[in-house]
């Protein structure tokens, strides 16, 4: 479409000012009304579609949580796709909800969402990563608000976490809660360190044999972990492994994180009586070597 000179607004009112204010009010009213009502109309993601597939006896692994878990799903999917045996044995379900967390129950209430995922996908194991977007006020499942920075914020968050973990273990799936990796910003890292410690403590306190905390992926095996946007890929070549936002993984980074995570999944499945040895002639050994 090309703007043509001399094409007036043609609102059909009197003078220019009336036309301008007519336009202003039209757009203003539309925008304001929409801003009030749109959240109520927003359609939830039909993630279940991604989880479709047959109802056979495949091992089902659900990836649930915020956008970081999508990186894990993506990396693990490449591992599974690259192995015909794994592809026939494992079905992956992608249930990431970007921009969500344990704080905003008004958007996605994760204790309810994890039960919904269980209903539609019946996972054998769930990989969960959450907390990336949780430096904000809390709206719980009843709609009650707790301001960010309020004295009871941490207690309230721990409560939301406990509710989520209880809902997760109630599904009877094995649950791996993966800690958040190092981020670029110091303020994020301080937050993440606290949350990872809280996740580990809450899981230990629940003491459910099906619920495990998995330490986050680290670029360097030893020493203090710091964020690095570039790092060596599987071949040792320096490539970009984290996205410019300083939080997520690039494809090369996804492969590194998945190489770390996959043996944990295999181990947890093995403990739950789902052995993948027939598919893992070299894969597990290779992943372990990489670690």
């Amino acid at each position: 479409m090309v703007f043509r000179s001399g094409w007036g607004s043609g609102i059909g009112m009197g003078d220019r000012w009336r036309r301008a204010f007519g336009a202003a009010s039209a757009l203003g009213v539309a925008c304001l009304v929409l801003s009030l009502f749109l959240p109520a109309f927003s359609t939830p993601c039909l993630a279940a579609a991604a989880a479709g597939g047959d109802a056979t006896s495949k091992i089902r692994i659900a990836f649930a949580g915020d956008s970081i878990v999508d990186n894990y799903w993506s990396g693990i999917e490449r591992i599974v796709d690259g192995n015909a045996c794994l592809k026939n044995t494992i079905e992956l379900g992608r249930f990431a909800r970007n921009g969500t967390g344990l704080t905003r129950g008004d958007r996605v209430y994760w204790p309810r969402e994890i039960r919904r995922i269980d209903d539609v996908f019946k996972p054998t194991l769930s990989v969960v990563s959450i907390g990336l977007n949780d430096r904000q006020f809390i709206v719980d499942g009843t709609g009650a608000r707790t301001a960010w920075g309020a004295p009871d914020w941490t207690d309230k968050y721990r409560h939301e976490l406990d509710e989520f973990l209880k809902a997760a273990v109630a599904t009877k799936a094995v649950v791996l809660m993966v800690g958040m990796p190092a981020m670029r910003e110091a303020i994020d890292n301080t937050d993440i360190d606290g949350k990872n410690a809280m996740f580990a403590a809450a899981i230990a306190a629940l003491g459910d044999p099906n619920l495990h905390y998995v330490e986050p992926w680290r670029l360097h095996a030893d020493g203090a972990e710091t964020f690095a946007s570039y790092g060596p890929d599987k071949s040792g070549r320096l490539v970009q492994i984290r996205t410019p936002d300083g939080q997520h993984f690039t494809v090369a980074g996804e492969d590194l994180a998945a190489g770390y995570l996959f043996p944990k999944i295999v181990e947890a499945l093995d403990a739950a009586g789902k052995n993948l040895d027939q598919c893992l002639t070299n894969l597990t050994k290779q992943s372990k070597d990489e670690q």
């Binding site: 479409m1 703007f3 000012w17 204010f21 336009a23 539309a30 929409l34 999917e77």
Partner: protein
């Protein structure tokens, strides 16, 4: 703050009426719009508003320095210093790590371990667009296309104006600054056209681009070797439609919003997949960037003035740098070089100039369209594939003819058709709709955007993916 969000709707619902209320007080209106633009930018990272401010102040001063000297050599020296400062900032944020990694890998390949180190700073959003706007201003002052403005506010407004700030279109300084002089004429608001640009943009982004991306294209590009040849072919075309619907949506919305505020931006897309040559494609795709590269890079390099070989060299340099402008990766460089090579080959074959189609017969034009479209879509694979391994795997699998099954669902097929319609429907249909809207009563004018936005929001997938061009 993304355009298709509630946050932006509220922001614009405030900015729009206040802008027109202040219209008679032009300085205050510009102060308000600069403040609103800085607020818009601060929604990502408040500290980077300092970058906007520093860039504005620096280029404001640089323009005066360039204008101060009468001697051409002195003017050129100051211009080069200013250009180097602007590009230095861009290079630091955007390209340092890429070149450091490339250098270290090169040394490693010959058995030498060299540690240059990386910098871990956030890439300021839209820094490429911001830099090109600033360069447009100082180069136009050097060329005496415009006089340096005495108003720092005008420069802050030009560089920071929120509709074009994040992903263009790239507005020329001389065109924009002329619009900042006095109050804007409300009669110049093309309400129907602006509203349909915004609504059409929302539809293209929220429905077509988002569903194509999440429903098919992302999956295909995530692991190309796991897909059938047919799916990779569909993935290639799907991405071509996705990037068009995504990027043209942003600039359509930006143009519409700017016009509602009384300012005109240049057209940025003109049915690019109707192009019958690669040169024609670049006259239809991201037109504000391609004309910027022509005027500020290709022509200063000598353009086509110094013989055939020099022309080819200048085309290759321009397109290679144009590719690299999109991001710090070899894939973007390859993509730019591919387009440069195609432009050179077209020149060799004499397929060039405004009247190339007129000189060719219908069949030759049709063949031109077919070849151009296939070339452009194939080249997009380099643009989209995240790594060398990925595009190698993509092409190897696609051309292997390994399998001709497809995972395209009926829903995705419908989205494909909708995307294709964006190029098939005649422009006059849209113009008729816009005219009807302009002639409609006020209640209808309110109702139409409301209903369309509501329908889009109901049909939209959860969450809005950032616009592809945000990263540039």
């Amino acid at each position: 703050m993304l355009f298709p969000t509630i946050g932006f709707a509220v922001f614009f619902a405030v900015v729009f009426p206040v802008t027109w209320l202040l219209n008679a007080h032009n300085t205050w209106k510009k102060v308000f719009l600069v403040a609103a633009s800085y607020y818009f930018y601060a929604a990502w990272r408040p500290e980077f508003t300092l970058l906007l401010l520093v860039s504005s102040v620096f280029n404001y001063g640089a323009a005066f320095a360039i204008d101060h000297f009468k001697d051409r050599a002195q003017r050129l020296t100051v211009l080069w210093l200013a250009v180097a400062a602007n590009l230095g900032l861009l290079g630091y944020f955007k390209y340092y790590n890429f070149f450091a990694a490339s250098l270290m890998n090169a040394f490693a390949a010959i058995g030498m371990k060299v540690d240059i180190g990386f910098i871990e700073v956030a890439l300021p959003i839209a820094i490429s667009f911001l830099t090109f706007h600033a360069l447009s201003y100082i180069i136009d002052v050097y060329r005496r296309v415009i006089k340096p403005t005495t108003s720092l506010l005008d420069i802050m407004f030009y560089i920071g104006f929120f509709p074009h700030l994040i992903a263009g279109p790239i507005v020329r300084a001389n065109k924009f600054l002329a619009q900042t002089i006095g109050p804007r004429d409300p009669a110049n608001i093309r309400l129907g056209q602006s509203v349909f640009l915004i609504l059409g943009g929302l539809f293209k982004k929220v429905i077509i681009a988002n569903y194509l991306s999440t429903g098919f294209v992302d999956g295909v590009f995530r692991d190309p070797t796991a897909n059938s040849s047919l799916d990779l072919i569909f993935g290639m075309y799907g991405y071509a439609l996705e990037i068009y619907c995504d990027f043209s949506a942003y600039t359509d919305i930006a143009i519409g919003i700017a016009n509602l505020l009384g300012y005109e931006f240049p057209q940025n897309f003109n049915y690019p997949y109707r192009a019958t040559s690669v040169q024609d494609f670049w006259r239809r795709w991201h037109m504000s960037l391609s004309s910027w590269l022509r005027d500020y890079l290709y022509i200063p390099l000598g353009g086509s003035k110094f013989g055939t070989l020099a022309t080819y060299r200048n085309i290759m340099i321009t397109m290679a740098l144009g590719g690299l402008w999109h991001g710090a990766s070899w894939a973007f460089l390859i993509w730019g070089c591919l387009h440069g090579s195609a432009l050179v080959i077209e020149r060799m074959l004499g397929i060039t100039g405004d009247h190339a189609d007129a000189k060719r017969g219908t069949l030759a034009t049709a063949v031109g369209w077919l070849v151009t479209t296939q070339f452009v879509c194939l080249a997009w694979v380099f643009f989209r594939a995240p790594s060398t391994d990925a595009w190698l795997g993509y092409f190897a699998t696609m051309f292997s003819g390994r399998s001709w099954s497809t995972s395209v669902t009926p829903f995705v097929a419908v989205i494909f058709v909708l995307g294709a319609l964006s190029h098939i429907l005649p422009p006059r249909w849209f113009e008729t709709l816009e005219k009807r809207y302009d002639e409609a009563p006020l209640a209808m004018k309110v109702l139409v955007p409301f209903v369309v936005i509501y329908l889009i929001s109901v049909a939209a997938p959860a969450g809005i993916a950032p616009f592809i061009y945000f990263q540039f």
